[in-house]
């Protein structure tokens, strides 16, 4: 059987048999402890600066950001962005309770449906799980309230993100996901799909020159909600 053949060939090369129980236990302990390696100093800064770093990095990667004071302002921010981009006020929205609870009716001209995205959708609104300041990266895990297609099919993706969900390095965002999603019985916590998204889609395959808007969204807009008093600029 190929499995045994591969494992035995590796062991032969390493000049040993299967690992003894104590060494296996050590490796299992390493996986549980999951040591962190060096974390770059750039994201180890006070909270307000972390938010600023996140925003600066999203913009460096050709994304755009609006910052709003509370969740009630989100519909207005979405409407304004669409009008600035000359886009019709229509979108497909993640069926997430936090998004559904927003006062959309205050912006009567906005039309939306809550579902997964289809190829004909031009604009999608996703509910961001976490932001990573280190590189301006969004963490978008899949679940029934956050369909993956919303991150891929529309030409314009708008992501709503609470400032309290912005971390410094990637490791902090993974720890957050682990703490909130871990199954107490199996220990498993990974959703089917976790996308780390940094800016809109692009390609440099033609003459190694960067062009935005390859197969994914051409525009990525983040609406940051200032729900974290510690994160507000001083």
């Amino acid at each position: 059987m190929s499995k045994e053949a591969i494992l035995n060939a590796i062991r032969r090369g390493l000049k040993r048999g299967p690992l003894p129980a104590d060494q296996r236990a050590m490796l299992e302990a390493r996986m549980v402890a999951r040591p962190r390696h060096l974390i770059p100093a750039r994201s180890r800064v006070p909270r307000p600066d972390q938010i600023k770093l996140f925003i600066a990095n999203v913009e460096k990667e050709f994304g755009t950001v609006t910052r709003v004071a509370n969740v009630k302002e989100i519909p207005g921010a979405v409407a304004e962005y669409l009008s600035q981009q000359n886009l019709a006020p229509r979108f497909v929205m993640a069926p997430h309770p936090e998004l559904q609870a927003l006062p959309w009716s205050n912006r009567a001209m906005l039309e939306f449906e809550t579902r997964r995205a289809e190829a004909s959708d031009l604009v999608s609104v996703q509910y961001g799980y976490a932001g990573i300041a280190e590189t301006g990266t969004l963490m978008l895990p899949s679940d029934p309230a956050r369909p993956t297609t919303l991150n891929l099919l529309a030409e314009t993706e708008i992501v709503v993100l609470r400032a309290s969900r912005i971390t410094g390095p990637y490791e902090d965002a993974w720890d957050m996901l682990r703490a909130e999603r871990q199954d107490p019985v199996s220990g498993g916590f990974m959703p089917r799909n976790v996308m780390l998204v940094t800016g809109p889609s692009r390609s440099a395959d033609i003459e190694q020159t960067l062009e935005l808007g390859a197969h994914g969204p051409r525009r990525l807009h983040v609406v940051v909600v200032d729900d974290d008093p510690a994160a507000l600029p001083g």
């Binding site: 190929s2 494992l7 060939a9 750039r42 579902r115 297609t149 089917r192 390859a214 994914g216």
Partner: protein
């Protein structure tokens, strides 16, 4: 299947150097990669420390790879996925075909994957009536042109904008003849529109994997276009092709390596899409594939354990070595004659297809050492190319003239008095022959050297002359 032309490396290289279109493309592309990587590294003061960490993570994983592979496979299955262990390319092709047949697949979309090139997946599917559609922009045009990638992260490295325009006009005959394709943006938009239909119609999506994560049973792809994500999200079935050395123990280990990968590859701080896949669609999910398969491939890698080439298994396929290689910079990737070009290919190709076929590749190096100095996991590429040269010599695969001259040189070099006398003689003879000129344009018996460059005339005696003088002076 990629036809092997590595034995003709010298002829391939000579043709490449004479190819004006290729030289134009190489000239444009080379500088861009170097500049971007340099800038990205300069923005991260910890980069050098991270290289050492990357090396250690990979060494630890390789030393315990049997354990991590078993743990990984168990976690994939626990998450509802299936692992297909394949020793050979043939087994892997059969596994992919069987998965496709089980769902009655007609078309298969594909994300960029070098292991897929190595296995010859596309030809195999086509031969069995299933249409593979490459969706990475570079891979797409390569497929239209019936070529092979010339670079491991930029498949169309060898093409100019005009080539894109010509191929699109030739192949997309359903579109108006007078449409504008003069800007790169026009080309990108046309490809986007064409491929959108294919994404939606595909029955199976095949991607590669940049990493496999043991603790969670996840496969990771790193892309910029979003084609890989569309490929693995829309069809009913997702197949991830991964060779065994892609393994890392934990997400934290992956984070450390991801900090190195994009910076070394494209000079980005992070790629646009870094996506972790774990099993198939979960209850309540509105999208995503119903089936998730990992085809786990050895194809010669396990034979590298315990040899001088084990460290090559640390490679994370960033392409920094080829981007910084003076030989790749003039020959391009096709000259190397198989899937993996540049310094990493010169080490890997002989292990995978045999030194008898790929013996020229480790010789196509100036040993300038740039590849090793930019490698994010510190693979000693020049040292390994030297090992291949030694093996080639031992197996009497190198030409008689080379062997005789090396033997002669070794005889002299091992006898210091003789060596000094010979070099002294050579220095004064060359000095006399030069008749006041600064360099030789040609020299008898050394035209192999002088054909491509001038040989400077030695001035000021031998090294030993100078050394004794300085020592006396000190």
């Amino acid at each position: 299947m990629v036809q092997i032309t590595s034995p003709q490396f010298k002829e391939n290289a000579a043709r490449a150097i004479g190819d004006a279109g290729l030289q134009k493309a190489l000239g444009k592309a080379k500088g861009a990669f170097l500049q971007r990587r340099g800038d990205a590294v300069a923005r991260l003061p910890e980069f050098e420390q991270l290289r050492e960490i990357g090396r250690e993570i990979k060494n630890h994983t390789l030393a315990n790879l049997d354990f991590y592979l078993e743990t990984y496979a168990a976690n994939v299955e626990a998450a509802g996925g299936k692992v297909h262990w394949c020793s050979t390319a043939e087994e892997a092709r059969a596994a992919v075909l069987e998965i496709c047949r089980n769902v009655g697949a007609k078309t298969v979309t594909k994300g960029k994957s070098m292991i897929s090139e190595e296995l010859g997946i596309n030809d195999h599917l086509e031969a069995h009536g299933i249409e593979p559609v490459e969706t990475d922009l570079g891979e797409y045009i390569i497929q239209l042109r019936r070529e092979h990638p010339s670079h491991i992260i930029a498949p169309a490295f060898h093409l100019n904008r005009e080539d894109w325009e010509n191929s699109f006009r030739e192949m997309h005959t359903d579109l108006p003849k007078d449409r504008v394709l003069s800007e790169r943006r026009d080309i990108l938009t046309e490809a986007r529109t064409k491929l959108r239909h294919r994404f939606l119609a595909a029955d199976v999506g095949i991607t590669g994997a940049n990493f496999l994560i043991a603790e969670s049973g996840s496969s990771v792809i790193v892309t910029n276009e979003g084609n890989g994500d569309l490929t693995q999200t829309l069809p009913r079935v997702h197949i991830a092709l991964a060779s065994i050395e892609k393994m890392v123990p934990t997400l934290n280990d992956a984070c450390a390596l991801l900090r190195l990968l994009a910076r070394s590859a494209t000079g980005q701080d992070f790629s646009v899409y870094t996506t972790f896949s774990t099993g198939g669609r979960r209850p309540g999910d509105l999208d995503g594939p119903e089936e998730y398969h990992v085809v786990l491939i050895d194809n010669g890698r396990s034979n590298m354990f315990g040899t001088e080439f084990q460290e090559m298994l640390r490679c994370i396929r960033c392409a920094a070595c080829m981007n910084h290689c003076p030989v790749y910079g003039v020959t391009g990737g096709h000259a190397y004659g198989w899937v993996y070009p540049g310094p990493m290919g010169s080490v890997l190709t002989p292990t995978l297809i045999g030194v008898d076929k790929a013996g020229h590749l480790p010789n196509a190096s100036t040993f300038c050492g740039r590849c090793e100095s930019v490698c994010p996991v510190k693979i000693p590429l020049p040292k390994m190319m030297r090992h291949w040269r030694e093996r080639e010599f031992e197996r009497h695969l190198s030409p008689v003239a080379v062997r005789r001259n090396l033997g002669l040189w070794a005889y002299v070099a091992q006898r210091p008095a003789l060596y000094r006398m010979a070099t002294k003689l050579a220095v004064s003879a060359l000095g006399l022959m030069a008749q006041g000129k600064g360099a030789f344009r040609s020299l008898p018996l050394a035209d192999g050297w002088t054909q491509g460059r001038d040989l400077p005339v030695p001035e000021g005696g031998t090294f030993m002359d100078r050394y004794t003088k300085t020592k006396r002076g000190a």
